[in-house]
């Protein structure tokens, strides 16, 4: 369990000593299941800081919404740290203008799994090391955390922030990519018709709200490809070609940039699965180019670079 007092005290220190101008973290939501991202600019405000398993947003998405030259402090879990690194590689922020407070992470609690189990009348939620305890109108419930983690977190292989300036909390045991690889391989082992049926089933619920795009730290284009009219790259509305095109291309634009954080899935109001697309791309980047996003702030992603070794891939 992260030491909330230690986090607050570090955030206060950063502001007090002028190390940063804003600390990006979370504050309590107006409903118990939804803490909100928060931007603390004064020491007093930090008293309101919360940090728990329901903090479901990848905070790195806000990095490109804050003026580039502002000094920013940010709480980062494993995936967020790598997202921040990926943004630095893409020159969206300088490392010198960042102070990263790293928090080892066991996983994000999927609030939908809570609602599935106990309904929506949730009055309060608390956690201990193993469990999540939920107060509802009808009584109290508790579940083991690993029943409630978001799917992406179950497959995470970078739970500990890799390049934070300070780490608050005990390191979490790391796993490797075997599970993530198995999930992709299992999907690919299905017959092609089944794969298409799965894809269609997910894509057809899309309402083109672009919550996935906005929640993603790597989707920061001022003008997204769907906003182009000349040419119109993909159909504009909730038509099969449009919805499928949107999912295919948004995922593909993440190749070599995605950190498997799952924020896209958590943001979707229609419960659409989309990590099975980006996980395949990340798998291919690992297998073909031995590349993983955000492990340092220098290595270019595979699509931004070529080597003469690529010659060997040119067979007819």
């Amino acid at each position: 369990m992260p030491d909330i007092e230690a986090i607050k005290s570090e955030a206060k220190r950063l502001l007090q000593e002028g190390v940063v101008e804003v600390v990006v973290a979370f504050k309590p939501g107006d409903t118990p299941l939804h803490p909100q991202p928060a931007f603390f600019t004064s020491v007093d405000e930090v008293d309101n800081l919360v940090y728990n398993g329901l903090c479901q947003n990848n905070l790195a998405t806000f990095l490109t919404r804050i003026p580039k030259d502002k000094k920013v402090g940010m709480l980062v879990r494993g995936c967020e740290n790598r997202s921040v690194n990926a943004l630095i590689v893409e020159k969206q922020k300088s490392r010198d203008d960042l102070f990263l407070v790293g928090i080892p992470c066991e996983g994000i609690i999927d609030w939908r799994k809570i609602v599935e189990r106990v309904g929506e009348a949730v009055l309060a939620v608390s956690e201990n090391d193993y469990e999540v305890i939920i107060e509802t109108r009808d009584g109290q419930y508790s579940f083991y955390k690993n029943e409630l983690f978001h799917e992406s977190c179950l497959r995470c292989s970078h739970r500990n922030p890799i390049s934070a300036d300070v780490i608050i909390g005990e390191p979490v045991p790391e796993t490797n990519q075997d599970l993530a690889n198995t999930v992709v391989e299992r999907f690919d082992s299905q017959a092609i018709e089944e794969r298409y049926a799965s894809f269609q089933k997910e894509a057809e619920r899309c309402i083109r709200c672009y919550a996935c795009r906005e929640a993603c730290p790597m989707c920061y284009c001022t003008e997204c490809f769907v906003d182009h009219i000349e040419p119109r790259w993909t159909e504009s509305g909730a038509t099969p070609a449009g919805m499928q095109g949107w999912h295919i291309v948004r995922a593909f634009h993440q190749t070599g940039r995605c950190t498997d954080c799952g924020a896209c899935e958590r943001a979707c109001p229609m419960d659409i699965k989309m990590t099975y697309l980006t996980e395949k791309l990340n798998y291919d980047m690992r297998k073909k180019y031995n590349f993983e996003t955000g492990l340092d702030i220098e290595t270019q992603p595979p699509f931004a670079t070529v080597t003469l070794d690529d010659k060997n891939r040119f067979t007819v």
Binding site: F187, D188, I192, E193, R195, Y196, F199, Q200, E204, R205, C206, F225, W233, T234, E235, A238, T239, P240, A241, M243, Q244, G245, I248, V249, A251, F252, T255, L277, K280, L281, D284, K288, P302, F303, V306, L308, D310, K311, R313, F314, V316
Partner: protein, 146 residues
């Protein structure tokens, strides 16, 4: 009664070094092959391929230059990385991998493109018409998510 497979053909404008080959493509390309020329395969945005697929292409062929022969130095290698990955990605979600084919031509090659297109057409006939991802339909005719 079966139609010939519809092929979307993206050709890098430099890869057919021989005037004869280029003339053949410009004037004698079979009707079921739709030609789009681009200055370099590196210019080919994966969305062009997606557009062709959604519009009903049974196959997509891309021809470009061999490594170290690209007019723009490394455009073909960038294309190789991106478009090959896009091909695998489309296969992942239901558009068979064999429907997208790359032909990398050497400056010395002559008469290769015709053979490649003919072979591709045969292979596509064996595979059958594309059904997955072919989703561009008029709203009035298709099904809509209400």
């Amino acid at each position: 009664m079966s139609q010939k497979p519809k092929i979307a053909f993206f050709q890098c404008q430099w890869c057919l070094y021989s005037q004869e080959d280029q003339n053949w493509v410009d004037t004698q390309l079979p009707k079921n092959i739709h030609l789009t020329k681009s200055p370099c395969t590196g210019r080919i945005n994966p969305l062009y391929i997606l557009n062709a697929v959604q519009g009903g292409a049974d196959g997509v062929m891309i021809s470009g230059c061999m490594p170290e022969q690209c007019h723009f130095k490394t455009g073909n290698m960038a294309a190789r990385r991106q478009l090959e990955e896009f091909n695998d990605f489309l296969d992942h979600i239901g558009y068979e991998k064999q429907r997208v084919r790359f032909v990398w031509l050497d400056l010395q090659d002559r008469g290769i493109i015709q053979k490649q297109l003919a072979q591709f057409e045969k292979d596509l006939e064996a595979l059958g018409p594309a059904t997955n991802l072919v989703t561009r339909v008029k709203i009035a005719e298709g099904e809509l998510n209400a």
